[in-house]
């Protein structure tokens, strides 16, 4: 069952930036592109666990602040030739509000 939860406003996230949403001990990075597309990924780079929320967002990618891996925001996967994926979470935008499906988060946290 879905558990859609209103977490923040689009304008709480800087354009070409991210906010960290914490659920229990799990950090989720919620990104906003230049075109106001919103994506949610686990805040852990598949490489060495760097916090993706702290990276530079460009196009629909984020560059991890640790070793500059580029991660696709829509899939969570590293841009080739790097390999690995950060977990993605279902997210939706209604008006200016951003909703996160907490059931998916809880499945991971559990």
């Amino acid at each position: 069952m879905n558990n859609w939860t209103d977490i923040l406003d689009v304008n709480d996230i800087p354009k070409l930036g991210a906010r960290v949403v914490r659920h229990g001990s799990l950090d989720i990075a919620v990104f906003r592109t230049a075109d106001d597309e919103i994506f949610a990924l686990e805040d852990r780079c598949p490489h060495k666990g760097g916090p993706l929320s702290q990276g530079i967002v460009h196009g629909r990618k984020v560059a991890c602040p640790m070793h500059n891996w580029n991660i696709e925001l829509d899939s969570g996967c590293a841009v080739a030739p790097d390999q690995g994926c950060a977990r993605e979470f279902p997210i939706k935008v209604e008006g200016s509000r951003v909703w996160l499906d907490l059931s998916a988060v809880e499945r991971v946290a559990a």
Binding site: K15, R19, R22, M66, H67, N70
Partner: protein
């Protein structure tokens, strides 16, 4: 003419490629990356093989590799990408009005876009007997097969042509057990790559391996033997030699037959523009068959550059331009080390530096013009080839290096490990890249398995040489040894990053000239090919903007690396470190008490004294940062930024019995004036109160030494990856002069260096004489520079105060609970 294109709707456009070689297939690979579904692709290859690495035919001939080893794209690859592949079919006709091509067996394919990648043909000397059995060229797998067969049945091989290809063929045949004579019309071997002394050394070592040479011989006839096969070669001077196999390696000619028959303009190649289009805009041409600005390239790297550009246009991106390449050469004969690049002969207006050790078999010649390296030849010791090539390509002023230039990069102050080991002698488990822990074996494996050709590719796949770059030369050598030697040509100018073709200098100039104030303005004005850049260009642009238009340009936090956005240093566990500023390294009991209290209050696990005489609090949680700053109540130390870091000082004349000047106060003054200074990279200063130099000024960006009669100023030292002793700039009398001269130097660096260049890189590029001209010889300019720096600093505020006391960018430090 209808040039519009169905994008994603309706039937796909048809792309036909004629020629199935390296340049063409690379274009398809690049195209598939950009626009995988835009075209229905058909490929015609005259050879019966899928795309293979033609550069490696020499090792195959020499028995060091097999044909399977050198296949780049197996037939599966074509199938996986839905490419119709016709092998063994030679296209003989292009109908440009009906837009189809036709092969020799009648197979037809229609096109919307046509890519001609027909490569080149070996040139066959028009002498009697040139068509006899046993007379071949050295161009493709069939030639190699013929040579291998001949080597098992016959004894005498003659190779006509003492160039790169001829010598590689001769070497291979010799390894296959044949008795090989190289016939060459010129006075020495490889005259297009080598001067005479280097060529003599090469000849001597090949002779020691058993190769024979007939120089300055013109072929008169190839003589038919009783069997009908070639049996001998005769020369115009009446001499002759036995020959059961004759390999002609006297040059290649762009294969323009098809293009010419279709009425396309050809002039020593199919003439193309900077977007690789022929005179028919639907038809592109790349590779050895294409003549770009009068040059048909035959090396891999320029062809791959062309491939990128052609693919970009085929994919409708329409923003790449090919602007020509500078090239260098290495000979792929095992045990022979040879490198040449640029104008190695020299002429009017050039000077040469020579090193010659005929007994040791080492010869080096560097050609300079106007204090810049324009060419060179090396034989026997090519470790520094890549370094020389980069100096040449970047047009660096080498007047400062001149004395040591010949002895290579290791003698120019670089303590990195570039070129200490020769790639070929390294074992697979030896580490190449110390930053990323990459061993030689990893690199070799990636090059072989992924078919890599360029340094960029190796960096992407293995991370080797992608951090500090000190192993770049070594990686290039491994690439040369593994992938074949023709890798190292690169475009004439280096663009900022993959988002643009413009150089750092061009971008800065545009920002200045056109008063661009935001990153989107720059990207629009300079036609960036990505919507909002990448993690490499955005921080650079942000710096260029704020340093060119202080107070007017927008400082964009989203285009700063996390450290400069959070104003603290991110650590490997995602926590941060905080280093408060202590002017000149001097502190007070009250500050120390606050630091101790903060460390306890926020449970900061590690407290450490840094090399720059500061105290580092490590392991601070991001959300605690503003509170930590508020409680510390000390200015930002900028230890996280491309900015003024520290001014390190000794105690100086106030306490020290040797001190001649008050170095501590000088350091405090410098640090207070330059506080908040953003720069292309981090900037470190030091002040010593006497020549004993306890503050280690010789490895700082600006180092000041107090002497009895004043202050000596040294610049462009470095203690990091590239250890470099600072150079003496000037001696001044007063503390005010120290501020003005140091400030003027730093402003010059801020205005002219490329982002991420330290002062050492900047001064190496422009030369100390240039800096002296701007700062010492021109007092007005010096004062103007200093004024501009002071103005830029006057609009900057302490970022910790803004965030700790005024709540600026609060969201950066707050997490959202869910």
């Amino acid at each position: 003419m209808d040039m519009s294109t169905p994008m994603g709707r309706g039937p796909k456009m048809k792309l036909v490629m004629v020629g199935n070689g390296m340049a063409g297939v690379r274009t398809l690979e690049e195209l598939l990356k950009l626009a995988p579904d835009l075209y229905d692709i058909t490929v015609f290859g005259a050879e019966p093989h899928p795309n293979y690495n033609r550069i490696l035919l020499s090792p195959v001939l020499a028995g060091e590799q097999t044909v399977d080893d050198i296949i780049l794209n197996p037939t599966d690859w074509y199938a996986e990408n839905n490419i119709h592949l016709y092998l063994g079919k030679k296209v003989v006709k292009i109908d440009r009005s009906a837009r189809y091509v036709e092969a020799d067996d009648g197979t037809r394919a229609e096109y919307d876009r046509l890519l001609l990648a027909t490569g080149s043909n070996p040139f066959m000397l028009p002498v009697p007997g040139a068509d006899l059995p046993g007379v071949i060229s050295f161009r493709d797998i069939a030639d190699v097969d013929a040579m291998v067969r001949a080597s098992s049945q016959y004894r005498h091989a003659v190779v006509i042509g003492g160039g790169l290809l001829g010598l590689e063929a001769a070497n291979g045949l010799m390894k296959r057990g044949m008795d090989v004579t190289v016939v060459h019309i010129g006075p020495w071997l490889m005259e297009r790559q080598l001067d005479e002394p280097a060529a003599r050394l090469l000849q001597k070592s090949l002779e020691e391996k058993g190769m024979k040479f007939l120089l300055q011989k013109q072929t008169a006839e190839l003589v038919r033997g009783e069997s009908g096969r070639v049996a001998a070669i005769t020369f115009k001077d009446g001499d002759s030699a036995p020959a059961d196999l004759v390999v002609m390696a006297v040059g290649i000619r762009p294969n323009t037959e098809l293009a010419e028959s279709a009425g396309l303009h050809c002039n020593r190649g199919i003439v193309v523009n900077d977007t690789m289009q022929t005179f028919d805009p639907r038809i592109y041409s790349i590779g050895e068959c294409a003549a770009h600005r009068g040059i048909a390239y035959g090396l891999v790297a320029p062809l791959f550059e062309q491939a990128k550009v052609a693919a970009n246009h085929l994919a409708h991106y329409g923003i790449g331009r090919y602007q020509g390449s500078v090239t260098s050469t290495k000979l792929k004969v095992t045990g022979i080390d040879l490198f040449s690049a640029g104008d190695f002969i020299g002429g009017e207006g050039t000077e040469s530096i020579l090193y010659s050790d005929p007994i040791g078999g080492v010869y080096k010649k560097l050609v300079l013009k106007d204090n810049k390296l324009v060419g060179g030849v090396m034989y026997g010791d090519t470790v520094d080839g890549a370094w020389y090539f980069s100096l040449l390509r970047d047009g660096k002023n080498v007047s400062e290096l001149r004395d040591h230039l010949m002895f290579g990069q290791d003698h120019c102050g670089n303590l990195g490990h570039q070129g200490i080991n020769k790639a070929a002698t390294m074992t697979d488990d030896m580490e190449v890249c110390g930053c990323n822990g990459v061993c030689k074996g990893d690199i070799v494996k990636a090059i072989r398995e992924k078919g890599l050709f360029t340094l960029e590719d190796v960096r992407k796949h293995t991370k080797a040489s992608s951090s500090c770059g000190s192993c770049t030369g070594l990686v290039e050598q491994i690439l040369a040894v593994t992938a074949g030697g023709d890798y190292s040509a690169t475009p004439k100018t280096k663009s900022m990053c993959g988002c643009t073709d413009h150089t750092h200098e061009a971008v800065r100039e545009a920002i200045r000239q056109n008063k661009l104030l935001t990153i989107p303005q720059v990207m629009t004005f300079m036609e960036w090919r990505t919507p909002n850049g990448c993690a490499s260009c955005r921080p650079a642009l942000n710096y260029y903007l704020i340093s060119t238009w202080p107070g007017e340009a927008e400082d964009d936090p989203q285009s700063r690396f996390i450290n400069e956005r959070a104003h603290a240093n991110i650590q490997r566990d995602g926590s941060y470190s905080v280093i408060p500023r202590m002017w000149g390294g001097q502190t007070t009991p009250a500050e120390l008490r606050r630091i101790a209290d903060v460390a306890e209050k926020y449970a900061i696990p590690t407290v450490k004294v840094t090399g720059g005489q500061r105290i580092d609090l490590l392991g601070v949680k991001k959300e605690d940062l503003p509170k930590v700053w508020a409680d510390l109540d000390m200015p930002s130390g900028h230890a996280y930024g491309k900015a003024l870091r520290t001014v390190k000082t000794c105690v100086g004349s106030e306490w020290c019995r040797f001190g001649t000047q008050d170095s501590t106060q000088m350091g405090i003054d410098l640090e207070k004036v330059f506080f908040k200074m953003w720069a292309p990279h981090k900037v470190k200063l030091a002040v010593s109160g006497c020549p004993r130099n306890c503050a280690e000024v010789a490895i700082k960006d600006v180092g000041i030494i107090g002497v009895d009669s004043g202050w000596e100023i040294y610049v462009a030292g470095n203690g990091g990856i590239k250890t470099e002793v600072a150079q003496f700039l000037v001696k001044v009398k007063t503390a005010d002069e120290v501020l003005e001269y140091s400030g003027a130097f730093l402003q010059l660096y801020r205005e002219e260096a490329r982002y991420l260049d330290r002062t050492v890189h900047y001064v190496e590029r422009v030369g100390l004489d240039y800096v002296k001209k701007k700062i010492l010889d021109d007092a007005d300019n010096r004062r103007a520079l200093y004024e501009r720096l002071l103005f830029a600093l006057s609009v900057e505020r302490d970022p910790w105060v803004e965030r700790a006391r005024e709540g600026k960018l609060k969201h950066e430090f707050e997490t959202v609970a869910a």
